[in-house]
């Protein structure tokens, strides 16, 4: 009974984190982007520096009219946001932030999380196709081709750290992690983070939702709460990617002044800042540049890293 209660508590904590952390990242993005562009961002909602802006947005979205175009495939159209959002929640359940601090530790944690994260793209494809809108279909096709290109370096980079630690469990990986891995696994870490950004459609990899070309890609026809769910999925994805990179490549809760889950969050927070920073700094990549970067840079680097990791592990 206590086991059951504990599992339920853990699940609820992850759920609350899943709903609040993306808002934190979103608010951070509002403010950081604003200051990088020499403006102040939202200042009104909630009083202090517009801290409640995203809550206000949520209340607004929940009351908005939901429009399903006549041409759309109603059922698929309605299901797509759930399928885009939920994989991130399910993946988050398996990621530990401290020793024993996880929704549920899984033996094959890395494998599970990578597999589940890949499901989200089906939601986007469903959204794009079911909308029966040319821009949506274009966006969905771009999204899928982008995922196909970047899933490989993403997975190969993760394999490198698995080889180094000799385990698929997140806790084992963090326990095995040594500070010098920062250098040894640096190429894999960078490849992982960049490929992750591309999977999330974050700028500069935001071709699938390029607003100047195809309105908002697969999400063009969405309104109200369903649209909000897609947005939540994007920010939940950022949280997930930053936590993953922090746990896999930056040593998670290992830190100079004692191990703590605060370190995991501090590292993930810095990464989230970098994600926003990249959005402000870089122009959007073209489709051919995207493919070139994935197939001719990231994948060869990831393969070379695999070789390096294997040799070092055996020689050590």
């Amino acid at each position: 009974m206590t086991d059951l209660l504990e599992a339920a508590m853990r699940l609820m904590v992850v759920f609350v984190a899943f709903l609040t952390l993306p808002l934190l990242v979103g608010q951070l993005e509002h403010k950081v982007m604003a200051h990088m562009q020499a403006r102040v961002g939202p200042m009104y909602a909630g009083g202090f520096h517009g801290w409640a802006q995203l809550i206000a947005d949520g209340v607004k979205f929940s009351q908005k009219e939901a429009i399903v175009p006549d041409a759309a495939d109603r059922i698929i159209f309605g299901l797509a946001p759930a399928l885009a959002l939920l994989p991130y929640f399910i993946a988050m359940v398996a990621i530990p932030i401290g020793p024993g601090l996880a929704g549920q530790e899984l033996d094959a944690g890395v494998f599970f999380v990578l597999a589940v994260m890949g499901v989200g793209v089906i939601g986007t494809l469903m959204a794009g196709w079911a909308s029966a809108n040319k821009y949506s279909v274009l966006g969905a096709v771009r999204q899928v081709s982008q995922l196909m290109a970047y899933e490989l370096p993403f997975v190969l980079a993760a394999v490198s750290i698995v080889m180094a630690a000799g385990s698929l469990g997140f806790t084992d990986i963090v326990d095995a992690w040594q500070p010098w891995w920062l250098i040894w696994q640096l190429p894999a870490g960078v490849v992982f983070f960049v490929a992750g950004l591309a999977e999330l459609n974050r700028p500069p990899f935001d071709m699938p939702v390029a607003d100047a070309e195809i309105i908002f890609g697969p999400y063009t026809e969405y309104t109200g709460l369903r649209f909000a769910l897609f947005l939540l999925a994007e920010y939940a994805g950022i949280v997930l990617l930053c936590l993953l990179t922090s746990v896999l490549f930056l040593g998670g809760w290992n830190g100079p002044f004692g191990d703590s889950w605060l370190w995991t969050f501090a590292k993930a927070g810095v990464l989230a800042f970098v994600v926003i920073w990249l959005r402000v700094s870089y122009p959007r990549l073209r489709a051919d540049q995207l493919q070139k970067l994935a197939w001719q840079v990231l994948i060869p680097v990831a393969l070379a890293q695999l070789l390096l990791t294997g040799v070092v592990v055996l020689a050590w």
Partner: protein, 124 residues
């Protein structure tokens, strides 16, 4: 909840259920809160305010299939890599195991190199 290997996945199943309930509740609440002000124009396909031309679903030539093939090949390879990565350093494995995987990936890498040289790794 740690009843053996599969025990942990009960929580994952619970997470799936919780997620479904969350989205369903949200959409139900939205249904109760939102206005419905129907008008024919609202339900047309959005094409920047102009009347939509033709259908959103059309046949097109997917030239991306070469990438898709390459992806499938490497994705299957990656699935093999994971179990291998956890044991290649263990007793009874070692250098030979690593060399075997290098040869295997070498074949695939040669495939990418070939595709690259042939110029099919281009977006058209």
């Amino acid at each position: 909840m740690d009843d053996g290997y599969m025990g942990g996945y009960a929580v994952v199943a619970a997470a799936v259920a919780l997620g479904v309930v969350f989205v369903a509740t949200g959409l139900l609440a939205n249904r109760l809160l939102r206005p419905v002000v129907a008008s024919a124009e609202k339900y047309t396909t959005y094409e920047c305010g102009l009347d939509p031309v033709g259908d959103g679903w059309a046949q097109t030539h997917i030239r991306y299939y070469v990438f898709a093939y390459l992806y499938v090949i490497f994705a299957v390879d990656a699935v093999y890599l994971f179990p291998w990565a956890t044991v290649f350093d263990a007793d009874g494995y070692g250098v030979v195991t690593l060399v075997e995987m290098v040869i295997f990936i070498g074949f695939l890498a040669t495939g990418i190199g070939y595709a690259w040289r042939r110029g099919v790794l281009r977006w058209v």
